[in-house]
Amino acid sequence: MPSTSLEAQPASRNGTALLSLDDVSIQFGGLKALDGVSFDVREGEILGLIGPNGAGKTTCFNVMTGVYQPTSGEVRFAGEPLGKRKRFAITRLGIARTFQNIRLFGNMTALENVLVGADAHHRTNVIDALVRSPRHRREEREGEETAREVMKFLGLERRADELARNLSYGEQRRLEIARAMATKPRLLCLDEPAAGFNPAEKAQLMDLIRRIRDRGLTVLLIEHDMGLVMGVSDRVAVLEFGRKIAEGAPADVRNDPAVIAAYLGTEADDAEDFDQEGDL
């Protein structure tokens, strides 16, 4: 397998493994959604996770964020097994994500959405809120600072008081990223952030993803758009039918015969851009 030789190669930004999937399998009834998948997301890199529809990319996300428990195998974050941690606890640990289908809190304002993310590390309880304790006031102030800073970073500062559902599609996608970033993650998982974007918006998104990485975050990116993934990722991992078939630098993966056969070599390459539905 060419993938094994590629795996050993150093990435452009070589760091220690922040998140490791170790022989992870997950089974839904008779369907093996993931079958012995192992890969590392290294500290400070942008890792692209690609594969045809139904390959198990989103399932991978769901295993990492505690939505599903792996049937076998283990996920480790910063060396620590995730085990049976609850989803909110994994978020507090430092993994944040966006959703393939936008899942904002539609009837809350953009700022409130981001504040919910910032609240992930807050401890204010009923008594604090009732008597407006120093902790409540400090956390409200800090939360709002974090939220406004992140929104500014994503160019949403002027939309703060708008209801999330009234934002434009592109703004909603960015608001999801803002909300995830407000949880102060070490690893940010983006699930098809470019879905439905035009080429100009995709170029902006690539720039944004790089800027997120430059803030010190590690980025895991699921994307259908080959140009975007190949252009922005330091390394790429390829899934097909729940198995990892290749991993390595974009140029190497592009020329990998297994990948070409599975995915890139077909004319579907461009057609994939318009195909966002149907994945897990």
Partner: protein, 395 residues
């Protein structure tokens, strides 16, 4: 972030008043704007006067408001207890989005605690009974919530519906709890007789102070119900303040996020189960408190006081008023509690009229009489979009 800050630019647009004004010929936006624009001292003075007016209501005996067939103070107390219950249910249903069809169960536990430990089985002091009732109800809310809040939507509604009935049937079939005959001699709040306050008497449009008709401040008796109303009103103001503090905090946001998208909330670091349980506990706290106050005014309770219909009326009050808006649910509770008392003459038509009113409301104000800010804004935007699509957009 505060509701006050958000209102000026959202409620002042001409599109909004155009959209909402003609419907019922009543534009709350305009009123809120005018009050909001007043200088601070004037605003506080107005609010103070309004609060004073609310306290003075049973003394003023205003002809069109007063109920001809029943004691007005008693009606005011009933309405006020609906308001308190609606505020509690609003936390569960309006903020956290949990459909609780057995809310009367908490009301009953509060009332029965006071009755059982104040009269039937023990003779504890009223000052001990109220905290005890609230404590036991909150515990029961947590005990009910812990297993049931893992189910969602329709299932939660069914389970809570069952809870309300179980409480009533348990009371009905347990001798220790008074069974069907109920419990008499429930302790009343301790009285401190300080002074007499005269009522007004109206002759046409002129009011005369009627020195023969007075209320003793503060005597909790059987005949004059005004002091109970004052007590309830005070509790409502306290709950309103607490409600606002919780709403504008991490806790309120977590409730709303859970209501909007539970999975997304959980993945953004909100322990949704814990917050749903908290909403249930807060709701139970307030429900139990109003039940306890109800029992200590009534002096007598039996299982008939806690029928399923009451749960449905509570939900109706919240939904009619506008779930998620505390002033909306207050108005809803007033509508549900006061109108049937005011128009007792039409009693046999009550349910028919009520059904018709709900139909009309569902049609014209689906988000409630005073919808929460979010629903109003969303509706305004939807209407603007509609207008644009029809090509009838105003310049």
């Amino acid at each position: 972030m505060t509701e006050g800050k958000a209102s000026p630019d959202t409620e002042s647009g001409p599109a909004r008043s155009m959209a909402w004004g003609p419907r019922l010929g009543w534009d709350r936006g305009a009123l809120a704007r005018r009050v909001g624009a007043l200088p601070r001292p004037v605003k506080w003075a107005l609010i103070g006067l309004f609060v004073l007016f609310l306290y003075a209501l049973p003394l003023l005996e205003i002809p069109i408001l007063s109920t001809p067939d029943t004691d007005f103070g008693a009606v005011l107390f009933t309405v006020a207890s609906y308001v308190l219950v609606a505020l509690g249910l609003n936390i569960v249903l309006g903020y956290a989005g949990l459909l609780d069809l057995g809310y009367v169960g908490f009301y009953a536990i509060g009332a029965y605690t006071v009755a059982v430990f104040g009269s039937l089985q023990a003779q504890l002091s009223w000052w001990v009974l109220i905290p005890l009732a609230v404590f036991l109800t909150t515990i029961s809310g947590i005990l009910l919530g812990a297993p049931t809040l893992r189910v969602r939507g329709d299932y939660l509604a069914i389970v809570t519906l069952g809870f309300g009935e179980i409480i009533r049937l348990t009371a009905l079939n347990t001798e220790w709890l008074g069974a069907a005959k109920g419990i008499t001699g429930v302790p009343r709040p301790p009285s401190v007789e300080l002074f007499e306050i005269p009522h007004l008497q109206w002759e046409g449009a002129t009011a005369v102070v009627d020195l023969d008709d007075t209320t003793t401040f503060l005597f909790f008796g059987v005949a004059d119900q005004a002091p109970y109303y004052w007590l309830m009103l005070t509790v409502i103001f306290l709950v309103l303040g607490a409600d606002r503090m919780l709403r504008l905090s991490r806790i309120g946001r977590a409730w709303e996020a859970t209501r909007e998208d539970e999975d997304a909330a959980e993945l953004m670091g909100v322990p949704t189960f814990k917050f749903k349980l908290l909403a249930f506990a807060c709701g139970a706290f307030i429900g139990g408190l109003s039940g306890a106050l109800f029992a200590s005014r009534q002096g007598f309770i039996n299982p008939e006081s806690f029928l399923l219909l009451l749960s449905i009326l509570f939900v109706a009050a919240v939904v009619v008023g506008g779930a998620g808006n505390r002033y909306g649910v207050i108005l809803g509770a007033i509508v549900v509690g006061y109108l049937p008392e005011r128009f007792r003459g039409f009693e046999e038509w009550r349910l028919l009229v009520f059904g018709l009113a709900l139909l009309v409301l569902a049609n014209f104000r689906p988000q409630g009489l005073i919808p929460p800010r979010r629903a109003k804004r969303a509706q305004a935007v939807d209407e603007q979009l509609e207008a644009l699509e029809e090509g009838t957009a105003r310049a």
